[in-house]
């Protein structure tokens, strides 16, 4: 077919904008990576953009020697693994129950669940509850309140409803009870949906900071994101000093080879790289997962 002028204009505009979008999206990651490999005092003088000017591994050495950061990294890993496994297990069991035809009160349970998606007690009542049941300052405060995700339950349920009836029937004939059917028949065939929702749940736990920042004061239990945020916030206070103040000048003169900013960037990379590594592999699953999730009842 002949290409019209319109075709050419559209192609040029679209390709240019999309290329620009890709650059704008990737640049912050790249720039941070570069800064994380650049000497802190050199970064503070400005101008580090596409390539490290004074290459160093000092920032990473600092991060991996800092006991506080290492501890936080372990807390984050523990939180992500425990939180994801338990949440997926409990939520999928719940969803399986909700997908059974004979369940008494199913409609009532469903309404109970859906209401929570639109209305909640809000920050303060939740905070008071956590305080009253003595979950404050425990590891489990990061796991238990989010154990059941209504959103994930609905996605799991949609998937289970799509499984052939014969699967469950034959298990029943072979003498399986509900638990056995679920663990030995249903879960093994639910690979894609488990993979997708596990990814989302794991990313959520890996990235979470707010709950830990308000519920936890014990330094030993703080996850990486909270520690990272504390360092970022100290830069922000520094940046906010509008004029070049005395402290700022002093800071620039005495700048160490490792600065707040270079540590933040190195820590950021430690917190980002695992996700960047995993996600291309699960991309084809999660695109499907998002679509199932967006279907309504």
């Amino acid at each position: 077919m002949k290409r019209s002028l319109e075709d050419n204009i559209i192609d040029i505009v679209v390709y240019t904008i999309l290329l620009l979008l890709a650059v704008v999206t990737l640049y912050p990651f790249w720039n941070s990576l570069v800064i994380s490999f650049n000497a802190g005092n050199d970064t503070a003088t400005g101008g580090v953009t596409l390539w490290p000017r004074e290459f160093t591994l000092q920032n990473y050495k600092y991060v991996f020697k800092d006991a506080r950061l290492i501890n936080a990294l372990w807390v984050t890993v523990a939180r992500t693994v425990t939180g994801t496994v338990l949440s997926i297990l409990f939520t999928s069991m719940f969803a399986y129950g909700m997908s059974r035809r004979g369940l008494v009160g199913k409609k009532f349970y469903m309404i109970l669940c859906v209401i929570t998606m639109y209305f909640s007690g809000g920050l303060i009542p939740s905070y008071l509850l956590i305080k009253d049941i003595h979950l404050m300052d425990t590891f489990w405060v990061m796991i238990i309140p989010g154990l059941i995700s209504v959103w994930n339950m609905i996605i799991f349920r949609t998937f289970f409803l799509g499984l052939p009836d014969g699967l469950e029937e034959s298990a029943r004939i072979d003498g399986c009870n509900h638990m056995n059917t679920f663990f030995r028949i249903v879960l093994p065939v639910s690979g894609p949906v488990i993979a997708t929702l596990s990814l989302f749940t794991a990313v959520g736990h890996w990235n979470a900071w707010f709950d830990a920042s308000i519920y936890i004061s014990n330094q030993k239990l703080l996850p990486l994101q909270v520690i990272l945020n504390q360092t970022i916030q100290s830069i922000l206070s520094f940046e906010a000093s509008t004029t070049i103040s005395a402290t700022k000048q002093e800071f620039l003169q005495n700048a160490q080879s490792v600065t707040h900013k270079s540590i933040v960037m190195a820590t950021t990379m430690v917190a980002t790289i695992p996700i960047v590594m995993v996600y291309p592999f699960v991309q084809k699953y999660f695109v499907k997962g998002v679509l199932v999730g967006s279907l309504k009842e």
């Binding site: 999206t25 970064t43 409990f90 719940f94 970022i232 906010a240 960037m265 991309q283």
Partner: protein, 291 residues
């Protein structure tokens, strides 16, 4: 298998809803929920009469509307543009890249924003100076005028690609015969986009719009908190304080539990009301609605 989950939901979702009643009490942690006295609408009146009330309302509404009119259409436009790309490799590349920011935390995004906008070494200042648009480095994050722009842009940066997934799928579902018929009738690409693609995905857009309206007063709690030094940045407060950050500041940081709960409840009630109204309008206008 269902009962344990229902119990969890009752504990962590419904008990806090019941806890909303502390808004009508003079709650003190020492006396607890049952020991604290009832005071009616005292805290609501205090909130409405607070000197900062109108400022908070304005910020919450303006930021929400900016999100609705600028951040909401962005993924739709991206999906429409990706649909025009015929080169499979390029399309896949842009998609993969654009999903990436969705998977990193707001903590990290705020770190990126602070780093890129920093005065001494921020790439944005360097670029704008090289292009000759500005002469002096600008203190982006301490000038109230720029805050909304920074907030909305970083929000779009983070979620545009991921938001586009659903719309792309909707576009893929459009019957190809319609495009063929339109080509035979002599329609160009722009014509097809306006007359076929957009109307075809309109139901999906409307559903997401309704969902968005229900969230409207949330106005991006985490990102605001992170970009304003946990609400400590006083320079930005006149443009950055929303109902959520206010509840956080007076409730969690200053322990005024009843007062903060009242402010939070006020927000919750309006949000649900707006969701109902949006749904009602959508049902009047067309066939798609949430319930």
């Amino acid at each position: 298998m269902v009962i344990p989950a229902i119990i969890m939901i009752i504990i962590f979702s419904y008990i806090p809803m019941w806890g909303i009643l502390t808004a009508f009490q003079d709650y003190s942690p020492a006396k607890g929920f049952f020991g604290s006295g009832w005071v009616g609408f005292k805290h609501f009146k205090m909130f409405f009469n607070a000197p900062e009330f109108w400022q908070i309302m304005r910020n919450t509404i303006v930021i929400s509307l900016l999100k609705l009119f600028i951040a909401f259409p962005a993924p739709i436009i991206l999906a429409l543009m990706l649909n025009e790309v015929k080169n499979a490799f390029f399309k896949r590349f842009v998609q993969t890249v654009s999903y990436l920011p969705h998977f990193i935390s707001w903590v990290i995004v705020s770190g990126f924003v602070i780093s890129l906008l920093s005065v001494d070494s921020g790439s944005v200042n360097i670029l704008l100076q090289k292009l000759g648009i500005i002469d002096e480095p600008v203190h982006w994050l301490s000038i109230p005028d720029y805050f909304w722009g920074i907030l909305i842009s970083s929000g779009i940066w983070k979620e545009i690609g991921f938001g586009a997934i659903v719309y792309l799928a909707a576009i893929t579902g459009v019957d190809p015969h319609m495009y063929e018929a339109a080509s035979i009738d002599g329609a160009g690409r722009m014509r097809k986009l306006i007359s076929i693609t957009i109307p075809s995905i309109a139901p999906v857009i409307i559903i997401f719009l309704i969902l968005q309206v229900g969230q409207i007063l949330n106005a991006g709690f985490e990102e605001i908190l992170l970009l304003t030094n946990q609400g400590q940045n006083v320079v930005l407060r006149p443009v950055a304080e929303t109902i959520d950050t206010y509840v956080y500041r007076v409730g969690i940081e200053n322990y005024r539990f009843s007062y903060a709960t009242a402010a939070g409840l006020f927000k919750g009630v309006i949000s649900v009301g707006m969701l109902v109204i949006a749904n009602w309008i959508a049902r009047k206008l067309g066939n798609s609605s949430l319930w």
